[in-house]
Amino acid sequence: MDLAFFSVQLLNGLQYGLLLFLIASGLTLIFGIMGIINLAHGAMYMIGAYLVYDLTLRLGNFWLAILAAIPIAIVLGLIIERLFLDTLYKRDHLYQVLLTFGLILVLNEAQRIIWGGDVHRVAVPAPFDASIQLTDNLQYSVYRLFVMGVCLALAGVIYWVMRHTRLGIIIRAGAVNRDMVEGLGINVRTLFTLIFSVGVALTAFAGMIAAPLTSIAPGMGDSILITCFVVVVIGGIGSIKGAFWGAIIIGMATTFGAVLIPSLASMVIYLIMAAVLLVKPRGLFA
């Protein structure tokens, strides 16, 4: 393996990992703080992609479409939390799993009714619709670099909020001991609504900015969900830092695993998860 090949693969792994982080960050927040296993998280990723596809057609501009789609995603999160989850907090985990599993079916069917079964695409938006030459015969889309930048920036913002704001302190405290936070006079119900909406919006946003890089098709969120659970488990449930490093590890493992040990490519991430659980059962950063 020469250096150019290695560096390009490093870039590929980093880019995939950063996108995974964006999706997994919402999942780990909801999982860690609210104790909700949100199986519908992948479906939200899909809804984000379809929303931006639809709105780009209507508004004629990808960036306007993203601006319009984010509030819709937040409202969707609000509705789901207030209307459905709110009544189930006192019940056993199984009820919440059943609910979010039901949501996958409902959202997939809604997608089919609204947008049909065809495969769609979103064109790579200006000014990023160009490529740079990496090696003799390989180019790299500038938009991919842009997506990496956005993911890194968002990771920075999330890190800052968690470390340096009062809200961050409450969220971290909530992840450790929910009852104590409530005992200190903090309205946990509002906190839950906020976290769920933000979590949903983060993954929907990931679907939006990933839309020009992928094909928009029914069920596109189903396979990403499993990968994101692996990221969350490796990183430690509820830990943003864990989600970040977990995502980078999985991104690199997927990329290099595919090339170096192709026969194990589909198993690599699960082997890593098993290894991490053996050494640190609560995840790397829990």
Partner: protein
Amino acid sequence: MKTFKKTSLATLLSATAMLSAGSAIANEDPVKLGLMLPYSGTYTALGEAITNGLKLAIEQEGGQLGGRDVEYVELDSEADPSKAPQNMSRLVNGDDVDFVIGPVHSGVAMGMLRVAKQTGAITIIPNAGLGAATNELCMPNVFRTSFSMWQDSYPMGKVAYDQGHRKIVTITWDYAGGKEDLAGFEEAFTAEGGEIVEQILVPFPSTEFQSYLTQIASLEPDAVYTFFAGGGGVSFVRDYASAGLKESIPLLGSGFLTEGNLSALGDAGEGVMTTLHYAETLENDANQSFVSAYENAYGELPDTYAVQGYDTGMMLVQALSVLGGDTSNQERLIDVLSNVHLASPRGPLSFSDSHHPIQNVYLREIRDGKHEVVRIAHENLEVPDEACQM
């Protein structure tokens, strides 16, 4: 064409004979068609296109088969192999259908065929391309109006060699359908003297292709042959183009790479060459009238899945008109079905001893967002079916 005229005449004669022989009983009940196709999930578009094509063929005959009304029992297969045996039993035993039409997905086909073997239900496969269905699993009551993976990819092997390619990288998903497709291509390409530099298998259904594209660039082959379908096909072709590989390393593929996805591919698809048993631009009378009838009925252009549904309908139309609608003698029904000759939109279509289509495979190139036919890549191609001699 000659055979077709002869068959039509025979059709007419025997139809009259059957009618006069008195099929009063047969005419009373409608013909029940059980459709076991995906109406939800990834393959929804395929299930709908097949259903549309099938109904169009029967509507063109006044909504009847051999003088009997038609009743459709539509069952969502969900493209879920684990539910296949149960769904198939429901159609055959519960709804008591005369014909089962399905599935799209090869995994579902395995489950269906098990029940088809036990019950003897007449099953017509309008898509699923697993070779075994008409080879190792060999059943007199099973027909196929579609293709096998091998049939659509084999002709590309010679095409690639004739275009001057000697070293080729092949890439597909790590699952049976993809591997069967690659096997057909590789068999023909290596027989010509070409070399497969690397066969890349991507975990199914991942569409994260960046690391493989980097690998392809570093291998510097003469061309790449690929099989992906649906959203994966669109992702691969677009990623391939945006990695700048399309100019230096031509992309060849099975027709399913781009079928039904032309608008989603956009510019990335231009110049991609594929082999398939159909192209919407084929210039024969049957195709031209089919395309306009389909567009009138459904407001969109048909794809190969719609044609497969349409030919399933035409097969039933022809067979039941020969039988005057009498489906009571299964042996005779199977005999008539296997002798069907169609002037299909895809060209002449007949069936081998193993009930697999004998058909042309076309070399197609995407130009201005359409599959233009370059030439016939292989005329009247029969598939290997040594394991199935009926």
